[in-house]
Every structure is written in C-alpha cells, then in structure tokens.
Amino acid sequence: MSTITAARISEAISELCLQAHWHLRRDVARCLKKALRRETNARARRLLQAIIDNAATAQRRKLAICQDTGLPAVFVELGQQARIRGDLNRAIQAGIRAGYTKGSFRHSIVKDPLLRGEPGVLPAVIHIDIVPGSRVKLTVLPKGFGCENKTQLKMFLPTASLQEIEAFIVDTVRAAGPDACPPYVIGVGLGGTAEAACLMAKKALLKDIAAPDKKLAGHLSALSGRLEKKIDALKIGPMGLGGRTTALAVRIEAGPTHIAGLPVAVSVSCHALRSATKTLV
C-alpha cells in the first residue's frame, strides 16, 4: 500500500496550476497550428498567429496565458488502495492557493454568489472518482468564465432524433458567437443524469484534442466529426471575425441513462483550453 502525504498533494497541485497557466497544452497548440495552416482569410491568419504568439510570450515571461485564470476544477482519480496522510480536500485547496500566489494569478472567486464581496483564489471545485489501484491522478482545469457562461444543458426526450441533438449543440456554439474567444473546443456530455451529463461534458475537454479519440464508439466518433464540420460551417472564426476554423475540436463523453430521458450537456471552451495532470504513486 502506498502512502501519499498531504504535502505532496499540495505541491503537485501548485505545480499543475503553474504548468496549466504558463504552458499551453501541446494538443491545443497543435490544433491552433493546424488551423493556421488551413486558414486562407488574412485577418483570421493574423489573429491565429497572435494566439500562438501569446502562448509563447506566456511561457517565456511566466505570465498567465489568459488573465481569467478561472475557477479551477480539480479532478482526482483516487486509487482505492492509496492511503492519504492528512486532509485531501485541504491539501488540494492549499496547493491552489500556493500555485495561484506564486504565479500572481487572478483573484476571481467570490465567497457568496449573491453578496459577491472581495475576490480571492479559493476555493476550487473538486471532483473525486474512486478508481482501482493505489495511484492518485490529479488534474487541474482552470477554465475561464467567459466560456463557462456559455454552458448549456438540455434534457431531451428519449425519442429525440440525432438531428435535434446536433442542432442543439451547434446552436449552443452559434449563441456563443464571437463572445467567448473562438475558435472553440466543444465538450459534449451525453446520457447519465442532469449533473452527470454536465460533468461528462467538462471531462471531455480533458481528452487529447489533436489525436483521434480511439476509445470512443464508432457512432459517437462519427457524431463528433459531423459536429466539427457543422460548427466550422458557422464561420465564426478567430475572435468571431470569420474564418475556416470555429471548432478546434469536438470531444464527447457518453454514459448510460434512463429510459425516459436523454440529457445532453455542452461545455464550451475558449481557444485557451488549459489543464495539467500529474499522477502520484
């Protein structure tokens, strides 16, 4: 049995915050370069180049890729044989505080949604899954709220057509329009309960967006391909000023659901999709 101390967890979370905000994910960088290669509109090309240059500046100068350093979501895959010495939740929050302080990341979180108050960096939202084994996998996803505000959930009838579902997803992107920093990465959650669908949509953003999702069932893979084409056809483009690429990628997570329903959740990510992962043994 492995023992992992709270201090190690805090340290790992702190490093993951810095990595996520300073170093653009490689798969996201690859998709941006691909979008630049296939872009023909001169302004869209300049804007894509600015996005790529921004990532390089962030890395070189140790500045956050985006000033909206998000309300971080922390995903924990906790091996059921792992033993944590200390308080896991507190260790994660302490790690967020340390990372955000070290990086001078933004104080974007208010304690009360109605009273608001002076913003701070805590707390992060933590999702814990118990998994087999003795490892602890930590992922920090600090998603900004410009795009988080564009999230949609719709509870479809079980008899809904695929066309209706596709239209809902495409309409979600159309409604986001130029506002949430396109080109977008779209996470789709299909099935489960209402809250499970939202969580699946967000987890879909953690998948590699540059490589084909080989674990995905054939019909879902075909769906993501069709959605990418339909979303690109919206021609929103970089900064909403037109161009060939509106979806850097669409990623799907699906799960069992009830005979009476078909929850569909859409999590929209801006082009600055940031996350970082580390596994502790």
């Binding site: 996005i51 921004n54 100068r61 985006c66 000033q67 505000n149 329009g177 506002d179 000023l241």
Partner: protein
C-alpha cells in the same frame, strides 16, 4: 496600420470605420462588471465619479496580479456583453470609447451611434501578449474590488480592431 491616441480626438474618432485595424497609444481606464455597476449607481445619484470619464476610453479588463519586474500581469479583454446594461448611461455621461471582446446589444449599438462613440475589439484570449503594450498601470478607484478595480493604463501601440464605429456600423453580422 492607423495610429490613434486616447483620449480620442473627435476627428480621429469619426474617421474610424468598423473593421479598421488600429494601434492605440495614450491613457485608458480598466472597468468591468462591478465598477460599471458602481459608476452607473453614482450617475443615478448624481454624485461625483471617482474618475472623470468624459472623453475617455474604458477597457473591459481585469488583469491578473502583477508578477515581480513587470508592469502588469496578463490583461486581455473580457466579454463586453455583460457591460451592455450599463453602457448607455456611461455614454450619456460622455464616455467615448470602449475596448472589449464580442458583440454588443442592439441598445448599446444605438447608444454608440447616438453619442458618437466607438467600440474596439482587443485580441481575445491573448492577455500575455497584450501585457507587452502596457507601459504603466496605476490603480485609481475601487481597490476593494480586487481585479475589478479601476486602473489607469498608459498604452503604446495597443493593437485593436474597430468593432462598432460612431455610425453604429458593426464588424459582426447584425444580431
């Protein structure tokens, strides 16, 4: 590319057309959601604003903290739509320019046209890059709002795109 200065000269402002790419130098003020709420509340009470906005340009931006040896942290634009409810009142009070990202409401576009103002787009999601165009940053109001405080920025050749010009013409398709 056209160079303009802030505060904006009327002639320069009128020459701007939706879609123009410009480089802005001079003084601008950050202001986002909570600062807009407070400013419009002050206007409604006819009390003095902490910053004289007549003729000025506001930037919808809440920067990160300032790392050591830098002027400012990452400082890209935030979504402008959230400011729409407050914008007509600020324009009526003399505000001449806004910098943000994304589209505006029909009411805001009408107010921009009525008051002969201009709305610029800054490179969205490029906060680290845009920090390189900021020469100084000085907090001037609402420090309790943290990143939403009003900060006076001196900018040099900040790259912008005219989103909505003073004739109410938008770079985006009509919504």
């Amino acid at each position: 590319m056209k160079r303009i200065t802030a505060p904006l000269q009327e002639k320069a402002l009128r020459s701007l057309k939706a879609g123009d790419e410009v480089l802005l130098s001079g003084t601008i003020f950050t202001a986002r959601d909570q600062a807009h709420k407070r400013l419009t509340q002050s206007l409604a009470r006819r009390s003095k604003l902490p910053v004289a906005l007549a003729g000025q340009v506001v930037y919808y931006c809440g920067p990160t903290g300032t790392p050591e040896h830098t002027v400012i942290g990452s400082c890209g634009p935030t979504t402008s739509r959230r400011m729409d409810a407050f914008t007509p009142a600020l324009l009526a009070a003399g505000l001449k320019g806004m910098i943000g990202k994304g589209n505006r409401s029909p009411q805001t576009i009408a107010a921009i046209k009525k008051h002969k103002a201009v709305y610029f787009l800054a490179y969205a999601g490029c906060g680290a890059l845009l920090a390189q165009f900021i020469r100084s940053a000085l907090p001037v109001a609402y420090p309790d709002l943290g990143p939403e405080a009003i900060v006076r920025l001196q900018v040099r050749d900040l790259p912008l795109i005219v989103g909505i010009d003073c004739r109410g013409k938008s770079v985006y398709p009509v919504i």
